[in-house]
């Protein structure tokens, strides 16, 4: 195949393949601040009702549950460490990213029930299949969340959705 080198660069910082458009950058920060201000106003109006739970909380709960499932599987099947540790790390990164968004609204402690290694299948392949199924279900829940979260969370929750889907592929 030829003809790939004598052409203008079609990539710049705005995106792969985008020729020339000048997308003004709206600050994510600005959106976040606006949301914070609105949330603050809502809080003033409804101080007795309390604020609606942050839509990232259930996504975090699933990430914590997945972390616990990986930990239990690793205790039962130490030989899977090389394969599972990078996936576990992804979930840990998700929790960290969500908690950065939540700030002081982060619930203390883990709400996720910690499965004991005893609930993990003794057969390593079956254990991998169980993790894959957990990832798939968590992916589907994240996708539903991604459709409805406020705009400033859309990229993050879509990324978490996609990551969980990629884990299903990695566990295959």
């Amino acid at each position: 195949m030829t003809g790939s080198t004598d052409v203008p660069v079609q990539r710049d910082h705005q995106g792969w393949g985008m020729p020339s458009s000048n997308l003004p950058r709206r600050g994510v920060l600005a959106g976040g601040l606006a949301a914070a201000v609105l949330a603050g106003l809502a809080g003033c109006r409804d101080s007795d009702e309390g604020q609606a739970p942050n839509p990232l909380l259930p996504v975090r709960a699933d990430s914590l549950a997945l972390l616990a499932a990986y930990d239990a599987t690793l205790r039962r099947h130490p030989r899977l460490t090389g394969r599972l540790t990078p996936l576990r790390t992804d979930h840990h990164r998700h929790v960290q990213a969500i908690e950065r968004h939540l700030g002081s609204a982060t619930p203390s402690g883990s709400a996720a029930p910690s499965p004991s290694a005893g609930t993990v299948p003794a057969d390593a392949d079956a254990a991998l299949r169980a993790l894959s199924e957990a990832e798939k279900q968590a992916e589907q829940r994240a996708r539903q969340r991604a459709l409805s979260v406020p705009a400033e969370y859309a990229t993050l929750v879509a990324a978490i959705t996609a990551c969980r889907a990629s884990h299903v592929e990695a566990l295959a």
Binding site: G3, T5, P8, Q10, W16, L23, A146, A158, A159, S166
Partner: protein, 142 residues
């Protein structure tokens, strides 16, 4: 053009580039890998066509494919072909993922699914290439 339409144009440009990239790398693969490249290229064609139609319906002229694209690295063999395939998927995911905040909720599903599909294919290519780790924590987040 609205901001959402600009974002769709960015995604379309990325899909054009991905279609081009797969046409370039496919011939350097064989067998099942080449078939996977062909299938992946077709997925990007499908999204390209859907975006082209959606933008046209909104009376926006869809961004056209460039006659060619400078590739991040030359593609000379299987290894560089697989590397490019990973790259194409990561970049296309970013074009979709980075624009999600600007799409109305009714249009979000296509972007979420595009990011997810790119991430899954990227993982598949990394496995074929023998790359580790197989995944990234935040596909599509620029």
């Amino acid at each position: 053009m609205t901001r959402a339409q600009q974002r769709l144009q960015q995604a379309l440009a990325a899909e054009h580039a991905a279609v081009y990239g797969y046409d370039v790398l496919g011939p350097h693969l064989t067998g099942a890998e080449q078939a996977a490249a062909r299938a992946a290229g077709q997925k990007h064609r499908d999204r390209r066509d859907a975006l082209t139609l959606a933008l046209s319906r909104q009376r926006v002229t869809p961004v056209a494919a460039a006659p060619g694209y400078r590739l991040p690295r030359p593609v000379t063999d299987r290894a560089s072909a697989l590397r490019l395939a990973v790259d194409l998927e990561e970049r296309t995911a970013e074009a979709w993922g980075g624009g999600l905040a600007d799409l109305p909720k009714a249009q979000r599903a296509q972007g979420i699914d595009a990011v997810r599909d790119c991430a899954v294919r990227a993982t598949r290519w990394r496995r074929m290439a023998g790359d580790t780790p197989l995944t990234v924590p935040f596909p599509g987040r620029p």
